[in-house]
């Protein structure tokens, strides 16, 4: 498949995620949108890794593999982030029985 397709697909997914972050007010949903962004990036990386593989496979059988490794690490980090993030959200909820980010306005100006 031409790489452009993947690029535009993932960029589209990414921007949907961004739009979600911008429009939604539920902290959890926003967080999910961010996860969507990360996944888009993962897909892009893998696509690129395959692209590089295609170009350089002859010289180096493992060409482009580090892209996939990177994805692996992204997943690692994402998992860690999720745990922390959900903990924070939960704490917030404990204190204010809401996860609406629009109520986060004690700090401003």
């Amino acid at each position: 498949m031409p790489i452009n397709y993947y690029i535009f697909l993932t960029v589209a997914l990414f921007c949907i995620g961004v739009a979600g972050v911008l429009t939604r007010r539920n902290a959890i949903i926003i967080f999910m949108c961010i996860e969507l962004m990360l996944n888009a990036v993962n897909l892009l990386l893998i696509a690129f890794s395959k692209m590089h593989h295609a170009t350089a496979a002859v010289t180096d059988p493992n060409a482009g593999i580090n892209g996939q490794i990177f994805v692996f690490f992204i997943m690692v980090v994402a998992a860690a982030e999720v745990s922390v993030g959900l903990a924070i959200i939960a704490m917030m909820y404990r204190n204010t029985h809401s996860v609406d980010v629009n109520f986060l306005n004690r700090l401003k100006h």
Partner: protein
């Protein structure tokens, strides 16, 4: 002897220092004594110098004390020039000065000790500066004296500083002089620029090389300085006010010496003037205008000193006329005689005021003849002298100037004579109203009336004699060959009196006759008119204009003083406060304001923040897209 010339200014300086530093401690008698003695000492020295200078074949000498200024290739030594002109002025200053000091001892004795010694210390300081002025061998030293005497006149006019009007008079005097001085200064700068030196001999030697335009400019600027110091139009109005000072001061500074500094300066730089005919004309015309204006004003003044003040202005006008027509030695001659008779008149006025216990308005005097005999006689002498009645001194000097003027331009002569008539008229109006008729003052004043003490009368007598015989120093060539001792004495400096040569003897006789007769007639008319019933009512019509000095002061006030103040206020209130400071503080306020607005970006909404970040991102990309094009 002339090598000791520095002693001449030194003595008064010492007097000044003693009186100044120990004004608290030393007793009145002593301080007066010191002051007078110092002047006497320097008079003796100057006399010695005079006799040396007077010998044939004397060459002017320059005594350099030390380097005053030297910057780059300009060097200005602090040096004195001894030549006939300066020597003559030395004599006038120290001689008349001495008499007036003497007179002051008596006149000022009511003052308490510190003020008394303050008075003498200022007076000595004045003499010091005046001597510096005439002795200086270059324009800068001359200028030092020039401003110095201005300062002293300021201090002495404001001697009774408790009186606000006196202070104002003093300030006015100083500032008007200052205006003239600026002209003088600029002239000096120009001279430095052109000749790279300020000493007289260098400048005068180099002068012919300069363009006429340049010389005209310089001479006019110098003349501006002269008008300030010597109270000519347009800067004369300070002199009458200066009468606020003690009368001896008026006699010394505002009649005999300081006001003649202008004449000295122009006579000194006559070389330049000879090369700048336009300036000469300006000088002459200014002189004439001043003669008439001042004389007219004097006619209607009722303050004895004011009358004399205006007469001084108008007499100075004659001297400038003389300078303007190139009759330098004649002008100087008139300075001499004027010093005698005007000092005399002032001192008499002083003794009158003294007798009248401070009263100065002649309308409340009259018939003082029998109370103050000596004063009366001497005053009469003075009047005759100033009115140019032969053979009194004034006649010779004034007449020579007029003759010279005729030689230049008959119109000058006519106006001059008219001035002389008016002079004769108001002087004798003054005389008559003061001494003739019967006493019009209060009884209290009446039985306080008395002749002044001898310290005051002796100077009167001396001066009176001088006023009578002084004229014979400069008898016109007409009467006898080489009879004009003065112009002969001055000729090394000023050259022979050019004015009179080309006029034939007959004409000269005629002119002399005319002026004498007219003056005499005015004298008689004035006597007849005022001796019996002096006018006391308020003047009306043109007379009122004269009495109110043609509103010149008011004119200056509206034309210069008020606008300046308005401008100043405008600058301060509008430009300074509103505009510049407004801008400065405005910047500060702008920052504050934008800060207040900008912080609303920090809305506290995560959504908002992310949105702004996205917008920022988009913008960066847009920039990139543009750059790539």
């Amino acid at each position: 002897m002339s090598n000791y010339v520095y002693l001449v200014p030194l003595f008064p300086l010492i007097g000044f220092l003693i009186n100044g530093l120990f004004r608290k401690s030393i007793p009145k008698s002593l301080s007066g004594l010191i002051g007078t003695a110092m002047i006497l000492a320097s008079f003796i020295v100057s006399a010695g110098i005079f006799f040396q200078v007077k010998q044939e074949g004397f060459q002017p000498v320059t005594i350099t004390l030390f380097q005053f200024i030297h910057a780059g290739n300009l060097t200005i030594p602090f040096s004195f020039l001894v030549d006939p002109l300066s020597t003559l002025f030395l004599l006038i200053i120290t001689g008349v000065g001495f008499l007036i000091h003497l007179y002051s001892i008596g006149y000022m004795k009511e003052e308490n000790a510190p003020d008394y010694s303050k008075y003498f210390c200022f007076l000595n300081l004045f003499v010091f500066f005046m001597l510096l002025l005439v002795l200086g061998s270059n324009y800068v030293i001359l200028f030092i004296g020039w401003e110095g005497v201005g300062l002293c006149s300021y201090l002495l006019i404001g001697y009774w500083f408790k009186n606000i009007d006196y202070d104002n008079a003093a300030k006015k005097a100083f500032i008007m002089n200052r205006i003239g001085d600026v002209g003088f200064l600029i002239a000096i700068f120009a001279i430095i620029y052109k000749f790279n030196s300020v000493s007289f001999d260098t400048v005068f030697q180099a002068a012919p090389s300069a363009t006429t335009g340049f010389l005209t400019a310089i001479t006019l600027l110098l003349f501006l300085g002269a008008t300030g110091k010597s109270a000519q139009i347009p800067l004369y109005t300070w002199l009458p006010d200066a009468m606020a000072g003690p009368t001896p001061v008026s006699a010394l500074i505002h009649a005999a010496t300081m006001v003649t500094a202008g004449i000295y300066m122009i006579a000194r730089s006559h070389v330049l003037y000879n090369l700048a005919p336009i300036s000469q004309t300006v000088v002459a015309i200014t002189g004439l205008a001043t003669i008439i204006l001042a004389a007219l004003i004097a006619v209607k003044q009722n303050d004895i000193k004011k009358v004399l003040a205006y007469s001084t202005v108008s007499q100075l006008g004659y001297m400038f006329l003389g300078l303007g027509v190139g009759a330098y030695s004649e002008a100087v001659f008139h300075v001499l005689t004027h010093a005698f008779f005007k000092a005399l008149l002032f001192l008499c006025a002083g003794s009158v005021i003294h007798a009248m216990s401070g009263e100065q308005d002649i309308r409340s005097m009259g018939g003082l003849k029998k109370y103050l005999p000596i004063t009366h006689i001497t005053f009469l002498m003075g009047c005759l002298a100033i009115s140019g009645i032969p053979p009194f001194s004034g006649f010779f000097s004034k007449d020579e100037i007029l003759t010279a003027a005729y030689g230049k331009n008959p119109v000058y002569f006519i106006i001059g004579v008219a001035g002389a008539m008016i002079t004769a008229f108001y002087m004798f109006r003054l005389y008559a109203t003061t001494f003739l008729g019967n006493f019009r003052g209060t009884d209290k004043q009446q039985h306080h009336l008395h002749e002044s003490p001898s310290t005051m009368t002796i100077p009167l007598v001396v001066l009176a004699i001088l006023a009578v015989v002084g004229g014979f120093l400069g008898v016109p060539e007409l009467f006898a060959k080489n009879s004009n001792l003065l112009s002969h004495f001055l000729s090394p400096v000023l050259g022979g009196g050019e004015g009179s040569e080309e006029i034939p003897a007959s004409t000269e006789w005629m002119l002399m006759g005319v002026s004498t007769i007219l003056a005499l007639s005015m004298v008689l008319y004035a006597l007849s008119r005022f001796s019996k019933k002096p006018e006391l009512g308020e003047p009306v019509g043109f007379a009122k204009w004269m009495a109110d000095k043609f509103y010149v002061d008011e004119l200056y006030d509206t034309l210069i003083v008020k606008p300046l103040n308005a401008l100043a206020d405008f600058f301060y209130q509008i430009i300074e406060k509103k505009l510049i400071d407004g801008l400065v503080n405005g910047t500060g306020r702008l920052v504050q304001y934008s800060s207040r607005q900008l912080r609303y970006l920090q809305s506290g909404q995560v959504g908002g923040y992310v949105l702004l970040m996205v917008i920022g991102t988009v913008l960066l990309f847009v920039v990139q897209l543009f750059l790539r094009k």
